[in-house]
Structure formats: C-alpha cells, structure tokens
C-alpha cells in the first residue's frame, strides 16, 4: 500500500478509537490513561546519556532523531544496508504492523524516524547491529519505526536498547519494529529497555518467519514507569522456529505488561517462550502469552512458560498463558508460576558453605539468568548480565 495512504488511515483509526481502556479485553490489567492524559508538547534537545556500543555498527537516536554524528554506519559488509527509515522506501512497511492497537496506529501515523536494516540474500553478519535510543527530553513522544529485513539464507543480530536519563524525565517511547526473516534466514534480536523511571514505553515487535528460518527475541525490561511489549510472531514457512524469551525486573510502582502472540500457520514449526520476572516493592507485571496453532499446522512443537519471583508482599503478577489449538498432531505445553525462592535450594547452598544472604543473591540471579541461557550474542549477554547484577544490587541494598 502507498505509505501516505497507510499513514492517513492509521491516523484516522487512532483519532477515532483513541487509547484502549480497561474494558478492552487485551488491556484489562494495564491502565494506559496516564499516557492518554499527557500532553506531549515538550521540546527537542540533544540527549546527554552515556552508553557502551556492543559492536562497531551503532545507530544512535537522540530523543527520537537518528544522530549520524554519534552513530557509526560506515564500513558495512557488502550486502548489508543500514540507514534511517525516512530515507529508504520499503513497500513492506506496515505489512506486519498496521493498526493492531492504538499504539501501532499512532506509530504508523506519526513516526518520524527509525532504522531500516536490510541484509541481502546470503549475507551473514555475525557482529551485532546496535540500535541505541537515548531519551531525556521531558514531555516528548518518540514514535520510532524500525524495519529489519533478513534475506534468504542471511543472518543478522540486532540489539535495540532504550536508555533513559537519570532524571526520571517523563516522555513516551512508542516504537514498532517489523522483522522479516526470509527462508533459511536467522534473525537474533534483542531488546533491552532501561528507560527513565518517569517514562512510558510501548513497543510492538512483529516478526514473520519463513521456511527453515529462525527468529529469536530476548526482551529485557528494567525501566519505565508504565509500559508494554507486544511481541508477535507468525511462522509462515515449514520448519520455521521462533524463540521469544524475556525477563522483567520491576520495583517501586512500575507496571509492565508483556503480550505475546505466536501464530503457527504451517506445519512443522517450533516456538519456545520462557518469560521470567522478579518483582519488588509495589511493582506489577502482566503476562499474556497466546499460542495459536492453526488447522494446517501439524507437528507443531510449542512450549511456553512464565515464572515470577516476588520479593515483596506488595508486588503483584497477572499471568495468562493461553493455547488455542486447531490441529490434532501437536506437542504444546504451557505453564505459569508465581512464588518465592526455593527453600530446598537455599538449604542445598548452605550445606555447601554459602551463607543465606549470599545464597539468596545467587538464587535470585540464577532465576533471572536462566532466561539468558539461549543468548548467542556474547557482547549482548555480558551487557545484560551486568544490568541484572546492578539491578539486584540495588534491590538488595
């Protein structure tokens, strides 16, 4: 569809329908009225936030705008194209994420920057492409639109990292990332969200996974006052695989919602989802994971699990794993737990000389670290482990 038409339509949808309310089934645990009520009339300024690049290819966005000065997009391997989405016409934009929610509509209507990444067929890039979104402009809304296109037999590793200022500035990140994984292709995708304590953060990630292709996503959430990830995968070719793992570490009065949707449209695909959360103080988490196995999707292997660790009586989790199966020859399991640390494991550590406080810290880290077991990108893993340790140190302090 013509981009202008798409955007006009999305704007009309957003104006007509507005933000969802708690009467909307998909939003009943997450009240977004603070976002709806805010004005977002803040002025742009350069962002003054430190970050550590995870590789040599880095795209830095300062309060929503790609900064070529802070980025390094030179010397790319042949067949890899990276640039602002505003400069690259791609007719696939909007074909996965159009108007699933008010947030996607608003993004489609108003996006003003984002990254376009394309690996041509057979181009394998091992080094991570690091997208850094720095935000500290109070009162601004950032509608960020990314598109990742991995050609047949290609390989890409992409890390999206959202970093807020230390000043608790109140802004709204509203991101959409569309991911196209061609046949036999591999996209290893990471999202690290550490927005400011005053921020709203919403992102929809939509992936379409071709035959014998692999899409893997790890979503790590530490920041924002109120936020949500919608992570949606569609397995469109036989032999495809999707791994969607996540970890949310929440404290204070943070509320973070994860909605996962995995659509098995064809036979012989696997999807695995492991989501874990650690909640302290009065934090709240929502997890809704839905696996749809369509009638044709025989020999589907789908596993979904959501486990939560509550460090305080005031913390709360709403978890809703859902299976919707229309095929008869499938292997699907799901489960959810909410609890405290395993007393027997603490005792086991003690009998090995590890004191209760150290054992507590070790088991809490172990609980979180299980999510990282499948992380293949070493720089991303080291970075995330460090963030997890920092968070745990803050909580135990």
């Amino acid at each position: 569809m013509d981009l202008k038409l798409l955007r006009d339509r999305a704007e009309n949808a957003f104006r007509e329908n507005g933000f969802p309310t708690s009467r909307d089934e998909l939003w009943r645990f997450t009240d977004v009225s603070p976002v709806a009520a805010a004005a977002f009339d803040g002025a742009w300024k350069p962002a003054d936030i430190p970050f550590v690049p995870l590789g040599s290819v880095v795209a830095v966005f300062e309060n929503g705008k790609l900064s070529l000065e802070k980025s390094n997009l030179d010397g790319l391997p042949a067949g890899l194209h990276v640039g602002s989405i505003m400069d690259q016409a791609d007719e696939r934009l909007g074909s996965l994420a159009d108007a699933q929610s008010a947030f996607v509509s608003a993004n489609t209507a108003y996006f003003s920057d984002g990254l376009h990444i394309q690996a041509d067929d057979g181009v394998q890039v091992d080094e991570p492409i690091h997208l850094v979104f720095l935000a500290d402009a109070d009162g601004m809304a950032f509608h960020v639109r990314n598109l990742i296109s991995c050609g047949a037999g290609s390989k890409l590793t992409v890390v999206e990292e959202y970093i807020g200022g230390a000043d608790d500035s109140a802004y709204w990140t509203n991101a959409v990332t569309e991911v196209f994984v061609g046949d036999e292709g591999t996209v290893d995708h990471y999202k690290v969200q550490r927005e400011s304590g005053g921020a709203f953060h919403f992102q929809t990630i939509e992936a379409s996974v071709g035959a014998n292709a692999v899409f893997s996503n790890h979503a790590i959430t530490i920041g924002s006052r109120l936020g949500r990830n919608d992570i949606r995968g569609k397995l469109t070719g036989e032999g495809g695989e999707a791994v969607c793992n996540g970890l949310y570490l929440l404290k204070d009065r943070q509320l973070f919602d994860t909605h996962m949707f995995m659509d098995h449209a064809v036979p012989q695909c696997n999807s695995h989802e492991l989501y874990k959360g650690i909640l302290d103080e009065k934090a709240r988490a929502v997890f809704c994971g839905r696996i749809l196995v369509q009638q044709d999707a025989q020999q589907t292997d789908a596993v979904q699990s959501n486990k939560n660790l509550l460090l305080s009586r005031g913390a709360k989790v709403n978890t809703l794993p859902q299976l919707e199966i229309y095929a008869d020859d499938v292997k699907c399991t799901h489960g959810a737990t909410v609890g405290e640390l395993d007393e027997q494991a603490l005792y086991y550590l003690q009998t090995r000389g590890i004191d209760p406080a150290a054992g507590h810290a070790m088991l809490t880290f172990a609980f979180a670290n299980e999510v990282l077991d499948e992380v293949k990108c070493r720089p991303a893993k080291a970075h995330i482990e460090k963030l997890v340790h920092e968070w745990l140190d803050q909580v135990s302090a």
Partner: protein, 252 residues
Amino acid sequence: MALLEIKDLHASVADKPILKGINLTINPGEVHAIMGPNGSGKSTLSNVLAGNEAYEKTAGQVLFDGLDLDELAAHERACAGMFLAFQYPVEIPGISNMYFLKAAVNAVRKYRGQEQLDAMDFLDLVEDKKKVVKIRDDLLERAVNSGFSGGEKKRNEIFQMAMLEPKLGILDETDSGLDIDALRIVSDGVNALRGPDRGFLVITHYQRLLDYIVPDFVHVLVKGQIVKSGGKELALELENEGYASWVGEEGV
C-alpha cells in the same frame, strides 16, 4: 577427640517425634554405616546433622569436632567441615556447576581463614580433584544438577565433597537410584577420599552399597533408635534376615 559425638539426640519433623534418643560416636578415620527400614529416621538424622531448619532438634547434644552444633547454622557446619551428600540433589537452573563450586570453595576457605582462590587456582584444584572423582567437563559447565541423570547427580555430589575437603562426609542414601556401574564409580570416589583424618557416615537402606564402601561399624536404626551395633558382618546379617525381628511382621 571424637569427630562426631551424638548424645541422646531427639528430633521432630512438623511436631512429630522421629529420632528418640540416638547415641553415636565417630572418630577420625572411621566409616560408620547406618542401616534401617523406610521411616526409621535415617534421613531425619542426616538433615538434623546438616542443619535443615525443617527438622527440629528437641533434646540431646551433638558435638562436631568439639563444637556444639546448636551454635552453628547450616553453612557454618559446612565451613567447619561437615558435608552432606543429598539423596535428592537439588537442581539449580541458571547457575553453572563451576560458578557454584567456586562460590562454595571460597566461602569455605574464607571461614577457615584461607586465601580466596582466583580463577586459575580454582581450575587447578578442579583438575586435581577430577583425578579423584571422574566427572565430565560438560557436567561442570552445565547448570547445577539441571537435567543430570540420577548417576550424574550423585557423582556431582561426590565431586563437590572432594572439592570441599570435609572432615566428615555424610552420605544420605547415595545408592538410591544408581545402577551397578554408577554405584561403583561413586564408591570409588568415596574410597579415594577415605583417610586417617576423615570420617564417614553412610546412610543406606540396602547392604549392597557396603560391598563397595566397606564400613568399620554398622548400626541398625529402627523407629528412631539404634537397636544394634556391630562390625561390617552385621550388614550381611541384615541382608539375610531383614529388619523383621525389630519392626515386627507388620513393617513400619
């Protein structure tokens, strides 16, 4: 001085009395076996000794290397040189065996006033102990006991024991769930760790394990009390006659 001195030990689980006056002394270098039918209190004894808070000591005294166990929390008992090999070792996803072992070794060394091992020294120690207890490298890299077979878990327990160099090793039904090959490997590890300064308390239901780990003394535990003690031949006697003469025909 005795390594372990248990005097009139009484203990309860969830307010139900299980141990009803145990007396037992283990000297350095000795291997004692405790045999008994299901429900006789074998696991309660090992848990009370190791300091499991779910088990309550209600009377009596236990001295370990001259220290009153009442004064020591579970981790302090481990640091002081007590090691419990679990009947059901706990799986800990998210922590590699190596990371866990290094934390344990350094916790124990800290308590004993020894220097902390750095990564290189620790690897040297691991290589050294692998000569005593054979363990595959991939088991050391994997998360603690996660997805290990029954035999691998028990071997991991014995490897941990080798690493922590305890004064007293308590083996809680280490033979349960092991086939003959695994039993032999685990027993070889324990036998290699026997020495004049180290004692063992081997808790088992079956005589079979004692073919491999030959004890100096055998005690029969029935209904929370030691009803008979003797040499290693007592185990054979039990194998032939069972526990029926103590527990009655109705069993326990």
